[in-house]
């Protein structure tokens, strides 16, 4: 039933031309979002990037977007429609758009395609991009270990994909750098977006004694529960301070604007080339929301950690690091290879959970 519904919803999705232009031949950038732009999380932030680009280019740029496009066959139709309607560059912003993007790209060699969080670039006109969110998670871990009295944080996770596992590991490594005995309890919500279920997960974790909540799901539900119960929490994807003025310690903000502007500029200049970028704090793609609700020394430590990661002086995945079962992963001073991280499927030592396989 639900699948039928989603399929219907996709065909009912409306193409929205956002800016009409007076100039002769404006460049047209098109975006495909997996969620509604009102999710106040992942898709919302991508849309903020679109708005930033619009503001930057003015009437040199024409944009269009489709929201709530299900991953899979419907995505293929949506991407093809964009490719046919004169888009010069198409951003497909979810992991599940990977195969449809490559398939359509092969048929429209003159259109540039940018796929977020994927790894397949089967034709010359497909580029991929992603952000190092785990850098922010490491900083959060440092803060969590300083702020927690129980020594245990609750982690609401979505799906056991490398991206999420990387986040849990980075968070715990950050925490262990302050308190070697720090623990993380993980609850898998098995959804990216269900405010009520995420809130329930937060409640369950708090009832079991955690006093810091962090999440890798997209809604503000957990933040509100944490605020209600008087403990601290971290926001996700966007600044959620409005939902926990006394609760949010900081939040990882995805800032896609600079990247979108850079890539659209490349199309205008005719210098666009295929690439695969994975950038983080240093490039301004991962931004920390203001550090709030914490003592000055914790804030100073967080800022110091952030600065070290930003300058490239320190990488969150620097050895010695042991795997969950106690075996060695990285030796002293060794830094994890990007390829390994992007396929990460194991926990580091100290995670109180079994990774779903």
């Amino acid at each position: 039933m639900k699948n039928t519904l989603l399929a219907l919803a996709a065909s009912a999705a409306v193409l929205i031309p956002a800016v009409a232009s007076a100039q002769d031949d404006p460049t047209k950038a098109c975006f495909i979002y997996v969620g509604p732009i009102g999710d106040f999380g992942w898709s919302y932030q991508h849309h903020q990037g679109l708005l930033e680009a619009e503001e930057h280019f003015g009437d040199k740029l024409e944009t269009a977007y489709l929201e709530s496009v299900p991953e899979g066959a419907d995505a293929e139709r949506a991407i093809e429609r964009f490719a046919r309607s004169g888009c010069d560059i198409i951003f497909t912003t979810s992991f599940g758009y990977m195969d449809p993007t490559n398939k359509i790209a092969a048929r429209f060699p003159d259109v540039k395609f940018e796929h977020a969080t994927g790894y397949k670039r089967e034709s010359e006109n497909v580029a991929t991009y992603n952000s190092k969110f785990h850098e922010g998670r490491y900083v959060q871990g440092v803060i969590a270990a300083k702020m927690s009295e129980a020594g245990v944080a609750g982690y609401i996770a979505s799906f056991p994909i490398p991206e999420v596992v990387m986040g849990i590991n980075a968070f715990l490594l950050g925490a262990q750098s302050v308190n070697p005995d720090f623990q993380v309890k993980v609850v898998w919500a098995n959804t990216w977006f269900d405010p009520a279920k995420e809130a329930d997960a937060a409640t369950a974790l708090i009832d079991q004694g955690v006093d810091i909540i962090t999440q890798h799901t997209d809604s503000t539900g957990p933040m509100q529960v944490a605020a209600d119960r008087g403990i601290k929490a971290f926001g996700q994807a966007s600044d959620m301070i409005e939902f926990g003025k006394e609760t949010q310690l900081t939040s990882i903000i995805d800032d896609w604007g600079p990247y979108y502007i850079e890539r659209i500029q490349a199309v205008i200049d005719g210098t666009w080339e295929q690439h695969d970028v994975w950038e983080g704090m240093a490039e301004g793609h991962v931004v920390m929301a203001p550090y709030t609700n914490m003592p000055d020394d914790v804030k100073a430590l967080a800022e110091e950690t952030e600065a070290k990661i930003k300058s490239g002086e320190f990488d969150p995945f620097t050895g010695p690091i042991k795997k969950q079962d106690g075996s060695d992963w990285l030796a002293e001073g060794e830094v994890a290879e990007e390829g390994v991280l992007l396929g990460l499927n194991f926990y580091v030592q100290g995670v109180d959970d079994q990774l779903p396989q």
């Binding site: 509604p36 999710d39 959804t191 009520a196 369950a204 009832d207 539900g221 409005e242």
Partner: protein, 304 residues
């Protein structure tokens, strides 16, 4: 700890119970309204919006009830007066609700909401375990429980309830007896809409006081399944909603405790439980026949 879990369970069960009890009355009158999700989400956005603008969550809940009912009126007009296909119309209602609520609610995104206050019964709310659970809940919880009991009484112990069931079982005979089939169905659908609207308001005013698009996240469909699960009996809907709530909260606790069961399996548990119960129920064919409204989903044109 145990008390805290029970509280969360009742929180998770209340919107399901409300939406399901409304749909039960609708289906007992012989109409299948698949638009529960759409009516719920309209209730959620209305409840949130009105509470935000007036600062009064009770007004928000009231507005959600009215909008839920108005939205279902659209369904009633199409299926009962114009005799369109109920399944297609219900699906359309859900799609319309999801889209419309997103549009209406655009300016509410990212704004913290107003929570419906808890009502404390003096003294009783301080009793151990049951005190907090039974005597210190929000208004919508009490409404959901009393409404369920009220519907059970209405359907099986009043003449009006008998009339409604007769319309659902055989609308031609009921019509021949001079019962106003279409009018009764209109009322039933409106009641269902009002309940779904209030269920939505529970989500955006109590459960997670905020508005985000698609925040019902499929709960309307679960409510629909619960009605079948309960073989159209109100008290079984109550049991089903709490069972579903208990399993979905229990699995989160099991995960947090670090019990070594794959989380995907745990997440699927509520649905597996539903399927198992459905299979068990449908094995007893006679019982199913007795409880299923015989005219469910069949169109009715009065002048024949």
């Amino acid at each position: 700890m145990f008390e805290a879990i029970l509280l969360t369970v009742s929180m998770a069960a209340t919107p399901l119970l409300l939406a399901a009890i409304g749909e039960l009355v609708v289906e007992r009158s012989g109409v299948l309204n698949l638009g529960v999700e759409g009516m719920m989400i309209m209730g959620a956005v209305t409840g949130f919006g009105v509470a935000l603008m007036t600062g009064n969550p009770f007004l928000g809940a009231l507005a959600a009830i009215i909008v839920g009912a108005l939205f279902s009126l659209l369904f009633a007009f199409l299926t009962l007066t114009l005799v369109t296909n109920q399944v297609a119309t219900g699906l359309a209602l859900t799609l319309l609700g999801l889209g419309l609520s997103g549009m209406v609610g655009e300016s509410f995104v990212g704004q913290p909401g107003v929570r419906l206050p808890r009502l404390d019964v003096p003294f009783l709310s301080e009793l151990p375990i049951v005190g907090r659970l039974v005597f210190s809940q929000d208004l919508i919880f009490y409404v959901s429980v009393f409404l369920t009991i009220g519907v059970a009484w209405f359907l099986f112990y009043t003449k009006a309830g008998l009339t409604l069931r007769s319309v659902g079982d055989n609308h031609a005979s009921a019509h021949a007896l001079g019962i106003k089939v279409v009018r009764i169905r209109y009322l039933a659908v409106l009641f269902g809409g009002a309940c779904a609207g209030l269920a939505g308001a529970h989500l955006s005013l109590v459960y997670v006081p905020q508005w985000v698009e698609n925040m019902t996240a499929g709960r309307g469909w679960i409510a629909l399944a619960l009605v079948v699960f309960a073989s159209w009996r109100p008290l079984r809907v109550l049991a089903g909603a709490y069972l579903f709530g208990a399993v979905s909260i229990g699995q989160l606790h099991a995960q947090a405790l670090g019990i070594g069961i794959p989380s995907q399996l745990l997440s699927a548990l509520p649905y597996i439980a539903t399927i198992v119960v459905l299979v068990l129920i449908s094995r007893n064919r006679r019982l199913t026949m007795v409880n299923t409204p015989a005219s469910l989903g069949r169109p009715f044109v009065p002048d024949r």
